[in-house]
Amino acid sequence: MARTRLAALAATATAATVALTALTGCGAADMTRQASPYADAKGSRTVTLSVQSWVGAQANVAVAQYLLEHELGYRVDTVQIDEVPAWDALSQGRVDAILEDWGHPDQEKRYVEDKATIKPGGELGVTGHIGWFVPTYFAEQHPDVTDWKNLNKYANDFRTAESGGKGQLMDGSPSYVTNDKALVKNLGLDYQVVFAGSEAAQITQIKQFAKEKKPFLTYWYKPQWLFEKVPMTEVKLPEHQEGCDADTEKVACAYPHTPLRKFLNARFADGGGDAAAFLKKFRWTTEMQNDVSLMIAEEKLAPQEAAARWVKENEATWRTWLPS
């Protein structure tokens, strides 16, 4: 009895598999060609861009999207994904381009060198830098706080309910590159790393602190629009040297300055026509990115409105990106 039921179950499963194969066309399914079901919805050509969770990335995408739609006649889909999964999505063709990558050597080796499913798309023109920051109002009162050697002296000022008896070093989203736990340990600092868990939470907290002029120490990065609202001063860490952060357990130096780069899906890079050519040429400055970021984050403009405004005022810049 039980055996026949099991056999029946197995038969059903097999039948389902066969039916599935028949339904979707016989033969192999290509996992490297997986477009979004919402793409090309009205017979228009679609480009899918990945957006990372920080506003700078939103600004890149907003301007690229605006120009692709209004100057080149594409439809643009955007998908928000964290950095590492975005590489995966890029290799599968779910996303056509990443516009702002902060350096992922492991992924680069796997997808660019080994599998050749992703191609570099050149530099974005913006240089990124991660560091530790204190609010400028606090640094002005206590100028020596800007050297890591004096940080222990101020541990008490940075203490919160979450950090126990130590000072609080606030870190952000889990998707960001960080050596802070190792740094605190290896530099012998009396600090506790508290992870805000998302950039939204971190920004909200920083603004709240700034409103009350409270001292705080945070992991933060440039370029970032928040500097315009809450001026912050970087704390000097031991100088960065090539390879000093190779061993993540032993790292005891500052973060590098990273020229941000673009990456394209290999099939899109070769066959993407005007859109691919345009995205490869897309290159602007930190100030330009910040202009757009501020409009999005502070004036609460929709990204597309912010992009429209920037595009109107900077025609000379973006004209050079269009395919001739």
Binding site: M31, Y38, A161, M170, V194, A201
Partner: protein
């Protein structure tokens, strides 16, 4: 821990024990003594033999090596291995094709066609009032400028719910017809239901990649269990007399199923569909983390620029979809069998004709997409309100202090001691306490499950973070119960308050949890306190509802007799209503625990740390070793807490005895 918990629980059972026959009560009292003695003996033995401290490293297994290799294997073979080329790839394509088909259909109908169809279906199924509600709901989605994302989410939902109903119905059918399969499936369904959605996002993403197929499949895992459960329940509960009659008339097994058992289970089947829809909508936003697009993605993107207003504008359509779909399917369940076939067919024909006419009209007028001018911007006023709130409540409120101060006190005086205490306890004492608690309230089997689940956490090597999470969950559950039972009792005693609360609870329950993320941080700062606040907001509605219903359902005769004996309102509540509503209150505790645990990951996004952060980290970094282990530990915590608070077996026993 054992010493303080035992008497508290014991006192709770004595009050309810009064209703039970004396033999059972004696047994229960005896049993408590046995458990108490056993626990004391265990404590003494444990301290002599095992010593203190957290989970010993020798008893832990490091899974990071094998998990990393597994994840590498999948990434390296995804483009070439037959498993992917001939099976998983087709699954993925099938999902994409189906979602696309529904999406294109919705776009082809245009906004007028879709809105008309929604209103007419609601009219046919549930009457004029719901029809108007549906029309208004879809119009609001358009007005908020969310038409296209709403259609994307709707397309995804249609496919996911369809698949969930098929899969859940099939499992339920198997479990309903075979006792053995029922026994096998029950723990599987139990686990699927306590699983926090984040725990299995990562493996699904690894296999299918970011995007719609992964989102649909993750949603199906989440939404199929209620369908399966209710189908099995309906089939098993079919009136024995009717089935007997069918058998005596010579019906074969299949005929009995199709003509007697399934039609008799219609109500449960429809309730199952309703539950699947609600669960699927709950996943809409979480699925956006893995690139599902639609409304969830809008919420998530708005949060990146710390824009609560825009997040709310995308969250409102989700709430409206949930309310409309819930009410319409619920009404369909109530009306079942009541409608006359002939008239209803005519009505449907009219509905279809009107929809077609409106859609064609929209097409001819070239008004398929929602007009750009017809939108209302709610983001700005909402943001202003949030700014005002945080500016005035965060700190410096005279006398009561600001929310930031409360959060600080709560962290220092409640969360820290609780975490410290739990982590300070020797590991074996924790296991002992869990076992004793589970025994007091359940059976040997539930106790064994609870202890094993807790031990598994130690073996996985995340003992300390798991206890950190546990301390947050316990604190959140305590606050939820305090507020929830109070509100529930008040709502049960005043029907006006009950009516006023209902829409508020609806919104809290269906609003995507991500929307709370910024307000809780703005009010409570970064840390564990906002995590607890988010969990309370999410779990409160269920606790209020269950409590109110339990108190309201208390036998009116018992109330009447107590009133005739001169009991005051307060006495009635404390001595009649609450004791008689005990099963409902226990269910409220259980649901509170499970729901709070479901928000642990959101806690990870606002600084809650511990397992929630690890789960988020795993997903963000594609780190299967961290993410999956954290997810598994959350599942184990959920199983343990569920078992410790779920007095299923003994309640049945008491019910039979009475």
């Amino acid at each position: 821990m054992t010493a303080t918990a035992t008497p508290a629980t014991a006192r709770g059972s004595v009050t309810a024990g009064d209703a039970r026959p004396s033999a059972l009560r004696a047994l229960a009292r005896h049993r408590r003594h046995l458990i108490g003695a056993g626990a004391a003996l265990g404590l003494v033995l444990g301290s002599v033999l095992l010593g203190g401290g957290s989970w010993p490293a020798a008893l832990a297994v490091d899974l990071s090596g094998p998990l990393e290799r597994a994840s590498d294997w999948i990434v390296d073979n995804r483009d070439g291995h037959p498993l992917f080329l001939y099976f998983l790839g087709h699954v993925s394509n099938l999902v994409v094709v189906s979602v696309r088909a529904v999406y294109l259909l919705l776009l082809a109908l245009g906004w007028a066609g879709v809105t008309a169809a929604a209103g007419l279906v609601a009219w046919r199924v549930a009457g004029v009032r719901l029809a108007l509600t549906s029309l208004a709901a879809f119009a609001v989605c358009g007005l908020l400028g969310m038409w296209v994302p709403t259609m994307q989410t709707l397309a995804l939902m249609v496919v996911a719910v369809f698949a969930s109903v098929l899969l859940g119905g099939f499992l339920g059918l198997v479990a309903g017809l075979s006792d053995r399969m029922h026994r096998v499936l029950r723990p599987v369904l139990d686990t699927m239901q306590v699983l926090p959605a984040f725990a299995y996002l990562l493996p699904v993403v690894l296999v299918f990649g970011i995007g719609v197929p992964a989102a649909v499949l993750a949603t199906v895992v989440y939404a199929a269990p209620p369908m399966a459960r209710l189908t099995a329940l309906g089939l098993r509960g079919a009136d024995a007399g009717v089935v007997e009659a069918a058998t005596s008339l010579g019906a074969t097994g299949r005929q009995r199923l199709l003509t007697a058992r399934l039609p008799l289970a219609r109500k449960e089947l429809l309730l199952g569909v309703n539950q699947s829809i609600m669960m699927a909508l709950g996943m809409a936003v979480i699925a956006s983390v893995i690139g599902a697009g639609g409304l969830g993605d809008r919420v998530y993107q708005a949060l990146a620029s710390v824009d609560v207003g825009a997040a709310l504008a995308a969250g409102v359509p989700i709430v409206l979809l949930a309310v409309v779909l819930d009410r319409v399917t619920a009404a369909a369940g109530e009306r079942i069998g009541a409608a006359e076939a002939g008239r209803s067919r005519l009505g449907w024909a009219v509905a279809a004709a009107v929809t077609a006419a409106v859609a064609v009209g929209g097409r001819l007028a070239d008004r398929l997409s929602w007009p750009d001018g017809w939108t209302v911007d709610i983001a700005e006023p909402v943001n202003r309100a949030v700014d005002w709130m945080t500016a005035h409540l965060y700190s410096g409120v005279p006398v009561i202090g600001g929310t930031a101060d409360w959060a600080g006190h709560f962290t220092t005086w409640v969360l820290n001691p609780l975490r410290h205490g739990l982590q300070w306890l020797p590991w074996w004492a924790v296991l002992l306490a869990v076992g004793a608690l589970a025994l007091l309230i359940g059976t040997w089997r539930t106790a064994a499950t609870a202890v094993l689940a807790m031990a598994a956490i130690g073996v996985l090597g995340v003992w300390d973070p798991a206890l950190d999470t546990l301390s947050q969950v316990l604190a959140a559950v305590a606050v939820t119960l305090l507020l929830g039972v109070g509100l529930g009792v008040a709502a049960a005693r005043s029907s006006r308050l009950g009516r006023a609360l209902r829409p508020v609870l609806d919104v809290f329950q269906t609003m995507p949890q991500f929307v709370y993320l910024i307000p809780v941080v703005a009010l409570f700062g970064v840390g564990r306190a906002p995590a607890v606040a988010a969990a309370v907001v999410y779990a409160l509605p269920a606790v209020v509802r269950i409590t109110a219903q339990g108190v309201r359902a208390v036998n009116p005769a018992a109330l009447e007799s107590s009133r005739s004996l001169g009991a005051t309102g307060r006495q009635q509540l404390l001595q009649v209503q609450l004791p008689l509503a005990r099963p409902a209150l226990l269910l409220a505790v259980n649901q509170g625990v499970v729901l709070v645990l479901a928000v642990v990951v959101i806690g990870g996004l606002v600084g809650g740390g511990a397992l929630g952060y690890d789960a988020v980290f795993g997903l963000a970094q594609g780190d299967l070793a961290t993410g999956l282990v954290a997810g598994a530990a959350i599942v184990c915590l959920g199983l343990m807490l569920d078992r410790v608070t779920q007095p299923t077996h003994r309640r049945d026993l008491a019910g039979k005895g009475a």
